[in-house]
């Protein structure tokens, strides 16, 4: 009853093609944005910012990048962590080596460097496909792991191998407390998500999807696989690299290569698959799920054990966490192999039929 587009007539093509054609959706999104920008900074405490909100925002950004490559262009990658690392370390080097370079510029340059590296590692995709490509992208992962660990120049010859940044500001706005960090990341995510959504709705997005659905057929109708695949790699790596730079600069402030290990790559792939391949919304859902779940389990399990009078040891908790995390992932994949985003749209579909289903 509430959620129905009856009576909303479109008189222009622009109105018909807008991102949220249903008015209720537009209001909801606007509401969410208002809450995110105004209510949350006023209400939420510091721990939540640090542990959940900031990681969620940054990883969402990275997940959108991975989704462009995996969900829209169909090239499975297990090397997303590598591009985060490239983004972070490139931004770091720009930041310390060029005096007075604004923070925003270093972060974006980090993203651009990552895009270039992405193109290089995307070249095999022109010949190698599917799971072979997935494993081949691991080459990028292990190679960057090694580079940042073994070549001291990239880490400014720091003896411990870890690098750190401090005194971050954008045009006089000091980014030092959790609220400002949160807002900074939120602005990035909002702009990039809009960018990604529009990119996937226009010609280049359609080319990616054509390549994904059947690359030979796409080539036959005149789509250049070279351009489509490498542009997907570039855009995806740009997003992921930017997210990597944010992760290093804003979230960690001081980091070592282990922050971008192969586990991170898996985690990002989890996000897009659990969230929903080929949807921007899904990347956000997936990121939320993967960020929040371990924290909830960590807090919740000992408490649950307490209820039943069982004292769970720390080792026991970490084992149980593994089991439950793995189990939930499998459960979600079984329940909805197309991800939470599909669950969401099925829900909306049901809501539109409600209260009179078939």
């Amino acid at each position: 009853m509430l959620y129905r587009e009856n009576g909303q007539f479109k008189t222009t093509y622009a109105a018909d093609q807008q991102i949220f054609p249903i008015a209720q959706d537009r209001w909801t999104i606007l509401g969410i944005l208002l809450i995110a920008f105004i209510a949350i900074p006023l209400l939420v405490d510091e721990y939540l910012f640090r542990a959940i909100l900031i990681p969620f925002l940054i990883l969402s950004l990275a997940a959108i990048g991975v989704n462009i490559l995996v969900g829209y262009c169909g090239q499975i990658t297990l090397g997303a962590g590598a591009f985060m690392a490239v983004g972070a370390y490139a931004a770091y080097n720009f930041h310390i080596r060029i005096e007075g370079l604004p923070l925003l510029v270093s972060i974006l340059l980090g993203g651009l460097t990552s895009a270039l590296v992405g193109i290089v590692f995307g070249i095999p995709s022109l010949r190698v496909r599917g799971l072979y490509l997935a494993v081949a992208t691991l080459a990028a992962q292990f190679f960057t792991d090694w580079v940042f660990l073994r070549i001291p120049w990239f880490t400014d010859n720091s003896s411990s191998g870890s690098v750190s940044v401090s005194n971050l500001q954008v045009m006089g706005w000091q980014i030092d407390n959790p609220v400002s960090k949160y807002l900074f990341c939120l602005i990035f995510l909002t702009i990039f998500a809009l960018l990604a959504k529009n990119m996937t709705r226009c010609a280049i997005g359609r080319q990616w999807m054509a390549i994904r659905d059947m690359d030979v057929a796409a080539e036959v109708i005149g789509i250049r696989p070279l351009f489509a695949k490498l542009s997907a790699f570039a855009v995806s790596s740009f997003f992921v690299g930017t997210a990597g730079a944010l992760w290093g600069f804003i979230h960690l402030a001081s980091w070592e290569p282990a922050a971008f290990s192969v586990d991170r790559s898996f985690q990002l792939l989890f996000m897009v698959i659990i969230g929903g391949l080929g949807t921007i919304m899904g990347s956000l859902f997936g990121a939320a799920f993967i960020v929040v779940l371990p924290i909830v389990l960590n807090q919740f399990l000992p408490a649950l054990g307490g209820v039943f009078g069982i004292k769970i040891s720390t080792a026991g908790v970490s084992h149980a966490e593994l089991i439950i995390f793995g189990g939930l992932i499998v459960f979600f994949l079984i329940k909805e192999p197309h991800g939470i985003a599909r669950l969401w749209s099925t829900g909306k579909e049901k809501l539109r039929l409600w209260p009179f289903p078939h």
């Binding site: 099925t346 579909e349 049901k350 039929l353 078939h358």
Partner: protein, 270 residues
Amino acid sequence: MSTANILLKVNSIEVIYNHVILVLKGVSFSVPEGGIVALLGGNGAGKTTTLRAVSNLLRGERGEVTKGTIELRDERIEALTPAQLVKRGVIQVMEGRHCFAHLSIEENLLTGTYTRTDGKAAIAETLDKVYTYFPRLKTRRTSQAAYTSGGEQQMCAIGRALMANPRMVLLDEPSMGLAPQIVDEVFTIVKDLNQNEGVTFLLAEQNTNMALRYADFGYILENGRVVMEGAAAELANNEDVKEFYLGLSSAGRKSFRDVKHYRRRKRWLS
């Protein structure tokens, strides 16, 4: 049709995909033992879904039968697995052929015998029989299925089903993507199999002309409902069927300015 020799009886089934998409809205039909029954209709009419519902292959597509019953010789079969159905003699040949691309033609045929327990000699005999029906397959027996032509793949798929010694074959769109001559060849073989081996066929087809020429009985589906049924010859002579599916009409070519045409078509679809 007498009720005594009914092999398969489908009773007003409803199929919903992915919990929201209603595809079949109460389809009923029955197939007599030893007959060829055709399910006809355009794209998206629900032919394939009906066949999948019978052979229980819906689950892989996230679909389910929510209402109605399917009975094979008075036994409810909705809950059986495809493998159990094959053991009861019902086998489906899927739309678009689906040969095992990396197996040779002969290996493809032999996979069809997985459920059989009657020994190697009997299997060799069936293989011979299949090769006599499809001599083309014998010449290509060692080549990889993916490298054979569309017609050969269709024959391979039908032959593979026959290797299970079925009593009933659900044949989904055998004419898809094939030259008319090959379609003729495939249908002739189907008819032969029906007459010589007594195999019952349930056929889903868009090529109405061809299907009605070889089938005994036909059902026409539109929008997930049966809109018409009758003996094949009757259907082929029906004015509406002629006009909508066979592209013929009594008054020669139809002018699309003729409003009555749309009215009749609309009444037909609702």
